[in-house]
Symmetry: D2
């Protein structure tokens, strides 16, 4: 089958032939990929940012955002069967550790992360497990929803954690109205009555944001912290969701956060530098966020099927994976790029 | 009356005569001070760390940790009267803003902070308000409990916030077994069944910590992060309570925190420097903490009266305030120094 | 001034002349009434249901749902002044007890309940306190929002408590689409993405409910429990909000609740009879609800000003209070009846 | 093997020979039973109370409270192997449904309940599944801990849910100091600083309760509601944990609950009859409780291994199962009866 393979850091992956994966264990599932999202993390992988954390030998297949159809299921699998339309939680998990047993799939003590720690889903087929499969209405087109498997779940997870802080009368800042941010805005609008203020360098992204439910847009032109303060009577926002967290956004995000407020770090790449006096004197929090739970993904699919979250995507054939990565890197993608094998 | 007054930054305060405070408004209360705690924050004030945040004109009276007896009460005061024994929440608050109405006294939109933003309680009398008074059993000696008004409430507040994270099987690291830390350890032992690991430079402080309920002690000799990892099978602690947060503790504290764990910043003086990748890849949190709520103080007094929190204090006459500050700065105080007017 | 006074149980109140209230204490506020809602509780008062609980001597003035303008303020009042437009939390509270200090105004240890425990607001003027005043945009017409002061806050309070249970994919049943229910439906639609199923005897009320955001309506014709089960694949609803809780609704409501679900009792008049085996075998909860907090009311006013909660009201002159009560009793009021002095 | 089999309702089970269970599916585990607790639910099963809910064909083997050693494990089992000492969560669960994925094992959509819905563990061997096994220190004697598998987990589950309500200064009433109650008292003492008031008919049980951490005991002699009111300044208890919930306790329990408090139903057999006015006017809750989660059991084992929860047990040979049931029914068992095969 065709797969998008990384042969070395700091160089683009190549599309080449590899053997199809097959079911190895009784709980394995092989999925025929219908859509594979292209993520900023793929660029970070190419740059080597995840090399140390994941320690995987090259070459391997990228792709951690997938939907498709069950192709083959292991002998102990009971909840899905061949032909079922599924979207995949990014991590096949053990189901037995404490994290799994409280639903914190992303902290499973014995999980894999296809596309980061082993072969991923920018390919015709992907090996995952029963626990990763969210069954969908058979009429769903996988390419239409694939981006929810990682961009979507990550945005939803952060928003869901913030809901208790976002009662009417609060302000929530969203930094970055791109692939994740444009989903986060819709989740906020569907699940809260907070005022949504979006910060982005790109005025066009702000226009899209307002169509999706944002109440105000702020161009990140250097005055963005003051602009947010002005919009909040000088107080800052109760919650800041930072989908960028690099190139200065990580300092802005904390600075935009109100007394007793919470700064959610979702993007990455930068470094926060904060005097502990500033953290304690205003009792602010920094909240880490990574992917989300299986239930997050299942709930998000309910929102999607109700039309409350719609994706802005642009499809590329699998063979054009490098074009998609280049477009993303150059800021030429509105919403999310999706590879279709 | 005698009062401990700061005349300039980077120089010790002086004990001098000033006019007694009197009730101005209908909700004011003047308290005859029975005990005034000496806090690391007083040293930080002298160093000028709070000059910008508080913007108070010198000279003024230090002291933000007080207990005593009601001396005079305003015309609209109903819940206390002259002669009542009271411990004082550090901030007289408005009772009308949203923060006050959810019990977050320390975030009141219209409060004062005696000892930081106006004349404090290292004096014979202190002006506060009805809402700050926690009524005590008349047999209580104010000098025995004064340290609970700031050191105690701050430690209790952080512990109480952490309780939902500290189920049996978890580990909680306490960095710093001094004035606040030795109360925090007792609160943890009273309110949770977590394993308590204490980190301090001073082996004597660790001995006291174990008498107060700590299960393990780690000398901060440069190997403390590894030592905590060793005690937790390499995972780190679910919660780290950092009562120091300067001189490197603020980096250690985050490094000691487990995946999905929370690092509570309570001390201050240092600067955290953390790549956002490290925050998100393990989904860790940094949690700010400042003083505590009135209810925190009231609950802590219940623990104290039940003998579950006992203070290690050393009393000084008010006139010896500078000695007490010097002893604290030099690390010569076990527990808390208390001025008795 | 004119006031609606109850002279005996089981007989309608009369509109008669009484003396205007005046400020007595430093925190008192006298409000000129702009609108006074007519509530099912007023009928229950007339029936004597509250006689024992409140123990008030007759005659007294009814009315516990008010908005208007500040007429006179006590000497210690700082947050409102004469002329301000305000909506009133139903209970003037002490601000000092534990309940007040955690924002649970309705559990204040030292509060009054005008209209139930002392003279209420079906009159030209009402005596309340500073802590009960929520300041409004001066352009607001009190008669347009008065119903939010009790019907609104009660519905909002119950919905807000239920939010953590109402993630996407859940079902929330609303029993009773009348004065409270029609606000509850709008709050659910504004604050959650749950599926809203409304149960009412009146098909017209169900039509209004669907315009306000309900996803399905069930006529209470005796088959309502089965109908809800059918809509939920036999499971029942995760949350049932029962705005009736009498005449059998209180048995239906529990029966409609899913395993591990919660039945919110908001209306009253009936008696629940449930084998403890049924409570434990499915681990269901019964949740009491009474009025709401000051912050609930303030948040609800944000929703109202954003147009997310709109009231269906019918105004009557104060002199026609008995007509309004009769119309309510006979089921002739859609939404809420409002007296305008 | 020998097993305790129920052949008809309203008659005692018999000990007879049956075939040993064997592994059927890849995730099955057969455990050699080391201890099987005897529970009031076994008496209720004999009385036919569970006949309708479980719908199981007679005869079958009783026993839902077990610890022992893994005897045989299915082909896909990875976390335990033959010889491991284990305590068993009462329900083998699917691991795939929403309830399993949030850790609510007892609400699994596809689970069994050995001893209620299929053959249980009053036998030499028991068929369960990998997900039900909590691995123990190999030195643990199963008969010493078996009672934690149901009595323990149930008491712990209820206490853990109540922790957020039980801050210092509150009162928690425990009704019934028997098999579950004596564990509940120890959990309360280990995890909270609440005041524990125990209500029981038996003065001896109250003595044991005080040794285990209760602060006050009340003999249930008809004046128990008043006695609890007297101990709480007329207010009642913030939390009541009712381990009886029959024969009038279910009315007492609610009556003992303070305004805004919560009545936890854990025992069963009676019927609550409460006017909805009483539920709403004081905003009280009734909270259902059933067994507990796998994590509850794992946490409880941590408390047990730390010596914070100790069991009072009396062992019987498996053949004496009927004697044990009769002793329990007659109130002759202090703590818990354990069958040892
Ligand atoms: Zn990604
Ligand atoms: Zn796992
Ligand atoms: Zn201090
Ligand atoms: Zn305030
Ligand atoms: Zn310092
Ligand atoms: Zn009403
Ligand atoms: Zn109060
Ligand atoms: Zn049992
Ligand atoms: Zn399940
Ligand atoms: Zn019974």
């Amino acid at each position: 089958m065709k797969a998008v393979r990384l042969h070395g850091y700091h160089q683009m992956p190549v599309v080449e032939e590899v053997a199809e994966p097959t079911v190895q264990g009784p709980l394995d599932v092989v999925v025929r990929v219908g859509g594979a999202g292209v993520c900023r993390t793929d660029l970070h992988i190419v740059e080597g940012q995840w090399a140390e954390a994941m320690g995987i030998a090259l070459p391997y297949t990228l792709g951690h955002e997938n939907a498709g159809w069950v192709h083959e299921a292991g002998s102990a699998v009971t909840s899905v069967r061949a032909g079922d339309t599924v979207i995949l939680h990014p991590t096949p998990t053990c189901g037995l550790c404490r994290a799994c047993r409280i639903g914190q799939d992303m902290h499973c003590a014995d999980s894999a992360f296809p596309g980061l720690s082993r072969d991923g889903g920018m390919a015709a087929f992907l090996l995952t497990s029963e626990r990763a499969c969210v069954k969908l209405d058979p009429r769903t087109r996988p390419e239409d929803v694939a981006a929810l498997a990682d961009a979507g779940i990550t945005a939803y997870h952060a928003v869901r954690k913030a809901i208790p802080l976002l009662h009417p009368g609060t302000t929530c800042v969203v930094i970055g109205a791109g692939g994740l941010g444009h989903i986060g805005i819709q989740c906020l609008a569907a699940l809260t009555a907070t005022r949504i203020v979006v910060v982005d360098r790109n005025p066009d992204a702000l226009k899209l944001a307002e169509q999706l439910g944002a109440h105000a847009g702020v161009v990140a032109d250097g005055r963005q912290v003051d602009a947010v303060k002005d919009l909040t009577d000088g107080r800052g926002a109760e919650v800041v969701l930072d989908f960028v967290a690099e190139q200065g956004a990580e300092q802005d995000g904390f600075a935009m956060t109100a007394r007793a407020g919470s700064y959610y770090v979702i993007g990455y790449g930068g470094t926060v530098r904060i005097p502990t006096l500033d953290i304690i004197s205003t009792e602010r929090n920094l909240v880490g966020n990574i992917v989300g739970t299986y239930n997050d993904l299942a709930e998000l699919m309910v929102l999607a099927q109700a039309g409350k979250v719609t994706l802005h995507t642009r499809t590329y054939p699998l063979e054009a994976a490098v074009d998609a990565l280049r477009d993303l890197d150059a800021g030429r993608v509105r919403g999310r790029a999706i590879l279709v094998p």
